[in-house]
Assembly symmetry: D2
Homo-oligomer: 436 residues x 4
Amino acid sequence: MVPRYSRPQMTAIWEPEAKFRIWFEIEAHATDALAEIGVVPKSAAKALWAWWATNPVIDVAAIDAIEAVTKHDVIAFLTWVAEQVGDEARFMHQGMTSSDVLDTCLAVQLARATDILLADMDALLEAIERRAMEHKYTPTIGRSHGIHGEPTTFGLKLAQAYAEFDRCRARLKAARAEIATCAISGAIGTFANIDPRVEAHVAKKLGLALEPVSTQVIPRDRHAMYFATLGVIASSIERLATEVRHLQRTEVLEAEEYFSPGQKGSSAMPHKRNPVLTENLTGLARLVRSATIPAMENVALWHERDISHSSVERFIGPDATITLDFALARLTGVIDKLLVYPERMQKNLDKMGGLVHSQRVLLALTQAGVSREDAYRLVQRNAMKVWESDGALSLLDLLKADEEVTAALSAEEIEEKFNLDYHFKHVDTIFARVFG
Amino acid sequence: MVPRYSRPQMTAIWEPEAKFRIWFEIEAHATDALAEIGVVPKSAAKALWAWWATNPVIDVAAIDAIEAVTKHDVIAFLTWVAEQVGDEARFMHQGMTSSDVLDTCLAVQLARATDILLADMDALLEAIERRAMEHKYTPTIGRSHGIHGEPTTFGLKLAQAYAEFDRCRARLKAARAEIATCAISGAIGTFANIDPRVEAHVAKKLGLALEPVSTQVIPRDRHAMYFATLGVIASSIERLATEVRHLQRTEVLEAEEYFSPGQKGSSAMPHKRNPVLTENLTGLARLVRSATIPAMENVALWHERDISHSSVERFIGPDATITLDFALARLTGVIDKLLVYPERMQKNLDKMGGLVHSQRVLLALTQAGVSREDAYRLVQRNAMKVWESDGALSLLDLLKADEEVTAALSAEEIEEKFNLDYHFKHVDTIFARVFG
Amino acid sequence: MVPRYSRPQMTAIWEPEAKFRIWFEIEAHATDALAEIGVVPKSAAKALWAWWATNPVIDVAAIDAIEAVTKHDVIAFLTWVAEQVGDEARFMHQGMTSSDVLDTCLAVQLARATDILLADMDALLEAIERRAMEHKYTPTIGRSHGIHGEPTTFGLKLAQAYAEFDRCRARLKAARAEIATCAISGAIGTFANIDPRVEAHVAKKLGLALEPVSTQVIPRDRHAMYFATLGVIASSIERLATEVRHLQRTEVLEAEEYFSPGQKGSSAMPHKRNPVLTENLTGLARLVRSATIPAMENVALWHERDISHSSVERFIGPDATITLDFALARLTGVIDKLLVYPERMQKNLDKMGGLVHSQRVLLALTQAGVSREDAYRLVQRNAMKVWESDGALSLLDLLKADEEVTAALSAEEIEEKFNLDYHFKHVDTIFARVFG
Amino acid sequence: MVPRYSRPQMTAIWEPEAKFRIWFEIEAHATDALAEIGVVPKSAAKALWAWWATNPVIDVAAIDAIEAVTKHDVIAFLTWVAEQVGDEARFMHQGMTSSDVLDTCLAVQLARATDILLADMDALLEAIERRAMEHKYTPTIGRSHGIHGEPTTFGLKLAQAYAEFDRCRARLKAARAEIATCAISGAIGTFANIDPRVEAHVAKKLGLALEPVSTQVIPRDRHAMYFATLGVIASSIERLATEVRHLQRTEVLEAEEYFSPGQKGSSAMPHKRNPVLTENLTGLARLVRSATIPAMENVALWHERDISHSSVERFIGPDATITLDFALARLTGVIDKLLVYPERMQKNLDKMGGLVHSQRVLLALTQAGVSREDAYRLVQRNAMKVWESDGALSLLDLLKADEEVTAALSAEEIEEKFNLDYHFKHVDTIFARVFG
């Protein structure tokens, strides 16, 4: 976790105190269930919750000090709780293993983290939709290979981003379901020393599904799928960030990351407004993505379990969720306040002197009875002049002055081929598909 | 694609002929729709299908020869079809771009490939289930960290594998839905030159969903999600393969990959039966997984599209699906014919002289009124003897001969603690969760 | 291997026939050494080489047919050779294991592949150097964050690429040394059944170093380092390819991939020259890079060896080297024939009306005694006018017309600050560092 | 960075104070050089060093507070230093850009981190060598595919590890040279505003090489190579860790991670000593390796530079070096104190009743004139009895009682084939190669 790329709500989930609070809840709910089925006295559960009701401070340092002696984190925690609660606490954890607590806790943490990410995603989708509606019919050049292609609208660009992040949202929900499971099945996961009803109770209380078959640990294919999904989302962030970076290039300058009116660019150079937020997002995307492979390598635990996955998860659990949260929020800010320059878009559209319309003229000539070869020759000779003038000449003007062309098409007909609206007639269809 | 790791049904999907057949279907269905809405004559569509009805051979070499000249694969194909069909073929492809054909074709190929993978998965699940039922109550030692833990059953091991691959199947279905979309939206994806009804018709005919907003290309977050899912499945294959490799180790030998009775191991060494199939699966898993990152790197295309994803997909499209198909089939064979040795499992269970039961004895002593410290001391001193004998001594025998122990527990009570069935009382619960 | 991204010289290395030829050489050289030290008759070696001198065709199909029965590739090969050579062939392979042949063969293949890559690299370096010299002083705008920064020269851009690929060349040489080792150490690598002098002889004949300690197999950290190095080189290819893609953007157009004068762009649109080669290189870079992680995962073989690495290497061995060879050659072609447009570079440099020089003016004003705050205000007010004019106004003209400015600096002094040569005074220093 | 997987000496390098100290040194050395060539007064440099000689505390919070306003880390630092040093400080940083400071600082940090890693590696090599010498002739079974192969020695296992880490050490040294370069070349890297002699001076003072051509930033192919190298080293750690994990398996138990005599295993189960350190190393290896791909993705910066690499490096710079340092130290501890059980190795060697010697007997029979088919039949029929007895019978005994065998070989001759020393005759050769 790098502080500058983190937000407090998400980091809080991964702090020791939050972890210990979840541990307590797991243990206390389990004690409730153990009491209900008669394995431990009901007073034990009562004592735990009574203490909890005092809203006790979790003394992380004290627990760490015990761990330094016992070399075992869960035992250290239980010991500390017992010191606070007293004798009744000895009934906690009956028949359970550390993994029951650790893995279920991780499920709670990842589920909570995902809830934040889902809210982030909603905010992002809202921002994209608002700007898409605003620029539904703002003409801009569509580019393939970085080269001018056919006209499109800036709203369509954003509609594509919306659809992509909407898919990401659905993937994230599916990923949440993957990891939100509870396992309290004891050593090797056979339930030999713990009744499955305990697991059912804890799962219900924590809002988790049952892990159908755990082998002391929750199987890591779930986490692999989870982190792979974050990696895909990060890649979509990279796509939209890259788009903004391209649009902000000095030569293009169709949009810019927001800067406040008073804000200096680079001292005396007003053109030096760098797309640093989206460049940063490009890097953060790489980082989130890098959790994918280790998460997959974690799947093949030996036999019923080993502990090789644990160190990996201590890194990628916080890092991937905290960084993705930060990135989604940053991207939302970028889109929300993006400075969009329709005049520059139009200027760029016109940059090639109308060459982007040459295909429509070609087709029109053919339909007007000119042979394909002749039509091509007519368009091409005018197009080349425009090209060689570096956009100083206008294709429309040249065509209207070309007698061979005007023999086939009237000035009005030619002009109609340069009408941008032709390209936008299905914008509404696409918007309806995307925004419903 | 490496021939030795491929199966014909899957490679067929990726052969040029199959691709051209899909291209034709896309073009012909599109022509149908164009005819229906009056853009091209109905005779054009009719001519295409009439030729198709003759079940023509696709002359891949001829198409390649045209491409060598035109430097454009779709144009080469259209030219060749036109040569076969005649003049009516000129109405094909009206208003479409190459990407409409290429991306929709890839969707069909990946969907078909996934159908094979789903069938593979069904066969694997069936094999695992059958063996799980067979060994539902076959006792075996559960291992954490590679060290003997508590008893479990071989059926439970397989039940966990079943549950994991059942999840993989669900993920694969979701991944299929991700990539099975049709885009026929023309240059830059605006539908300026092609009516959206054409896309709707082709999608329906090919069993694809509509791509809500394509920008000449289908967005690559879909494919990233698809290949990431294959990577997760590969990781689950690695897990089960690793389990078999462990079980076949000379010192463990609880199960072996099948070898026919007459088959020689390594010349004179009958013990030299190597788990080469599962080792191979471990390697294939790495390979399938390696498609994940490039597929994610493909997402951030520039503006409406670039072509950087294409070369990557020419590799990973065939490689990942063909290799995963082969791996799933190989794993199914391994599980289906796995030689399982219950006697050896029992022998290994007994290897530690009953130490795996020490915890239950400890608990029983405490419950019989012995202090925790004393109980620990009693169990520990006998356990250490067993340990030092390398399993030659029996913990049960020693305990029954320890007067301090027998003062608290009867011989029958002690023996009961060594009862394996104690560990298996919830096997049925777990099986019901997994197999329904 | 994808045929369209491969070149015959490199694919030849990976064809079965080439492999069998290397196998033969290993076996025959080993037989020489065995004969020399008296383990096998000298006639055996003589017979092998006598047959080899007939330049026999390797009948791959026949060998494959034998393998289909024996299920063992090396035995199949030895059997086939024995059929050709006769009785004396039975002395081949004495005391050796299959891995001795397989791993040493892989070393030869990778070494040969690397020799081709080194030659590719030389050609690339030569092309870059030639173009760098040509454009040593061609002014162009340097960009940070995609935004105009300070002037540089196109030659300096290429000098940086040269230095980077020169490092890549050194890395490639180091990587070659990593994998060019010979292991002929028998089962488990103890030399129990084969004299180390055999290994020494074969190594010398094949131009390989000795593997100091093999454990039946050559350790895979070597191959991990090798493929990681290819991944770094691929990343450098991506960098230069991305540069070209940027330069070819419609709005920038400072350079273009070559197209022949007669070649059509996209029908009537002369601007539609897409940087498809460099986009393709971007994708190929991702692919080559994707071999890195599986190669690293191959390192942790179990005990003395397992076979999990083998399937991975059957893919990445050919794929990474063939693709990188193709990519280097393609990049060389791109650079060699790159269309460079100095006028457009100058036009872009001037695009911001001289704003790129504002910092020098600012500094000059301060040095002329104007306070930092005043100097900033003076430059800023003129710079903003230029900026708002979208480059239509000239900063130089405005400054020369600003009385507060001219009170501090003469027209000549101001003009000097707009002198591009100021920025180029150390070009020669840098060129000397890079090109020696 | 995860505190539990870090050591203070390495984390210190990455703390803000250390960074600021390096920044100061860069700036002060640069000021020295600027003074030397007459660009700034010598008093400026003197003032900086005079303040530095007071061994001032770096007030990180104060610098952060300034950054919160200026939004620029280097400017914040310079401002704070100026507050401390006074007016003379204004001459600092003349003609430099932030990247000059940031990139050169990263070079210093990575170089220092690498020096620690090199020292770690030396300690590891020393530990491995010591244990290898100790067990040079400790017999143990060599395993291929996890299956007993031929005898080897535990010393040879360690010799292979030594050779592998010795290669890793050489790679690490090469990687250090990759990143230990100094760039002080000003905006866009042209030296327009800073004399190359400044760079030369700072480089010399900091022990760095000159970056031949920087483009405001040091090219990131260097860092890609660096982190890829760490990934390879991590993979070698995984290999040795996996070996220990295998050796500690309950059924194998040839070696164990150290536990102190008084240390409890898992309560009453003395066999429950888990290889948690090496499992942990397996996970840490995955994490270090995961820096490789993002570091490679960082290479293709846009034009002269963008800032996308920066966020990635803020994670992987500390994480990869800190974690690798921790892992190397942990592995050194594991090897240093590894509990090795030669008796158990012998027991496992004998486990198959001498089957590992069957091949030598087979060969001896052939050499004694028995036909290959008969020899095979004779060995095989006895081997199968041993195999079916699960090692209870002895191949040697059976062979000596087989009259057909004894007709060809004397008892002494048979016994000689079971002599382990036969396998160890070249141990010394291999040790000489590895340890010199």
